[in-house]
């Protein structure tokens, strides 16, 4: 009799400890808190991750967001000890979007093509702007080279006098033509440089033409 009573008592005690042990809840809570602390992660971290997971999954499946459960847990090893932390996610599925998916895919493709054409137009405009800049730079370079050649001319008195005569004759002609004339009148030694200058001026003229075309294109679009 007494033994039976004792056994009953012991069992009840054990049950109480199992139910009431605040130690285990403390342990569990601490484990999670420490993990988050150690990962140097804020409390919003799980919420943020949850949101993004929902967004990705929504594309493919209808899910019940209200009953969705995402949390960090500890895997238990086979021997009952605590193992590595794990991300646990329980996401109830309402419907798998199979037909909807196809429709959406088509819509997406349409959207993508539209976006691509938009992007292409934007790219065109940016290239035009880039070309404009290049032309400006080229013009600067040519002007600098012109100055250099003029310096050289100052050194050679003969050439200088010739140039002066020619300048007098031609008066206020365009800058580029002037440049060409200078190169014609110079000595044989300077021929190479002069030809380069010529090429550049030609290039610039071409670019200006292309620029004009681009501007026309722009105007048409507008």
């Amino acid at each position: 009799m007494f033994e039976n009573l004792f056994k009953l008592f012991k069992k009840e005690n054990k049950r109480e400890t199992l139910c009431e042990s605040s130690k285990d809840t403390a342990k569990e809570r601490l484990h999670l808190v420490l993990m988050q602390d150690r990962a140097n992660v804020s409390a919003d971290f799980l919420d943020l991750m949850r949101q993004e997971i929902i967004e990705v999954i929504k594309k493919y499946i209808d899910i019940d967001e209200s009953t969705m459960d995402v949390r960090l847990t500890n895997q238990t090893n086979d021997d009952g000890t605590q193992g590595a932390p794990a991300l646990y996610a329980n996401i109830p599925i309402l419907n798998i979007k199979d037909e909807n998916k196809k429709m959406k895919m088509e819509e997406q493709i349409n959207k993508e093509t539209q976006e691509k054409t938009k992007e292409a137009l934007e790219v065109d405009q940016t290239t035009i702007e880039e070309e404009d800049k290049k032309i400006e730079e080229a013009i600067k370079i040519v002007e600098e080279e012109k100055n250099e050649t003029q310096n050289k001319e100052k050194n050679n008195e003969k050439i200088k006098t010739q140039n002066e005569k020619e300048k007098d004759v031609k008066g206020e002609s365009q800058e580029k033509e002037k440049n060409n004339n200078n190169s014609e009148s110079n000595n044989e030694g300077n021929d190479k440089e002069e030809s380069e200058v010529q090429n550049k001026t030609e290039n610039i003229q071409k670019k200006i033409k292309s620029q004009n075309k681009n501007q026309k294109r722009k105007n048409k679009r507008e």
Partner: protein, 263 residues
């Protein structure tokens, strides 16, 4: 050359100052020359716990600012010959001392003392940084409460990033009865969570309060279980290889006799 041990916890009120006072006294009892530094500037308490509050003339800030010599600021303990206290300033704040000055101070003290125990303020701000600046070794004090363990974990991380390796753990205020009932976290649980070496477990007893009321270390009361725990910790600090006795798990008289016969 001495060793600088910082006693820290993160959370306040877990027993850093009590641990510093009693561990220092225990080491002095073992015949070591010990200096205690209170770095809790503005909230000094190690002096009252040691019962030396009436003897303060100069403090740590005076030493750092060159107003007095280090020797002048060190207060000799009433009970132990080789125990000294360098008190914190009460009218200044934590910025009165910087990390460089702390390093200089501890290296000076190392020349003369075997152990320098640094009582760290709560928190992880400048006061904490100052306290750990010159430390070779760290003892982290925690209780079995969630908040204290969490802060201890953070402190362990900060100690490791400050390259103070292998901090040791003192679990304070364990109540064996509550542990038995499953209402307080077990020593093993805490060691598991924090995963550092355990150097001692101090039971919660009333002697701590009564002894502190008198301004005496608890190790002087031979009936106090907490005092025994501190004496044991001191031995382990000195490098003795003794098993940590865990309150509530002590062997009964008969078990002891049985274990002797088993050997």
């Amino acid at each position: 050359m001495g060793e600088v041990i910082v006693i820290t916890s993160g959370k306040g009120g877990v027993g850093k100052t009590t641990t510093t006072a009693n561990l220092g006294s225990s080491l002095a009892l073992e015949g070591k020359k010990v200096a205690l530094i209170d770095t809790d500037i503005g909230l000094r308490n190690l002096d009252v716990v040691m019962g030396l509050e009436n003897r303060i003339v100069y403090d740590i800030v005076d030493v750092v600012e060159g107003k007095c010599k280090l020797r002048q600021a060190l207060i000799k303990d009433k009970r132990f010959k080789e125990l000294y206290l360098l008190p914190a300033a009460q009218t200044r704040d934590k910025s009165a001392v910087n990390e460089e000055q702390m390093k200089e101070l501890t290296t000076k003290l190392k020349e003369e003392f075997d152990y320098i125990l640094v009582d760290c303020p709560a928190g992880i701000e400048q006061g904490f940084k100052n306290a750990i600046a010159g430390a070779d070794r760290a003892i982290v004090v925690t209780t079995a409460e969630i908040s204290s363990i969490r802060d201890a974990d953070r402190i362990i991380g900060l100690l490791e990033s400050a390259e103070i390796k292998n901090p040791e753990l003192v679990i304070n205020r364990i109540r064996p009865n509550m542990v038995k009932r499953g209402e307080m976290m077990d020593v093993d649980d805490i060691v598991d969570l924090l995963s550092i070496d355990l150097i001692g477990v101090v039971p919660d007893d009333e002697y701590i309060i009564t002894q502190t009321n008198k301004g005496e270390p608890v190790i002087q009361n031979k009936r106090a279980p907490s005092g025994k725990a501190y004496l044991e910790i001191a031995k382990r600090v000195l490098g003795e290889d003794i098993e940590v006795t865990i309150p509530g798990r002590e062997q009964s008289f008969w078990q002891k006799i049985k274990s002797i016969f088993r050997k």
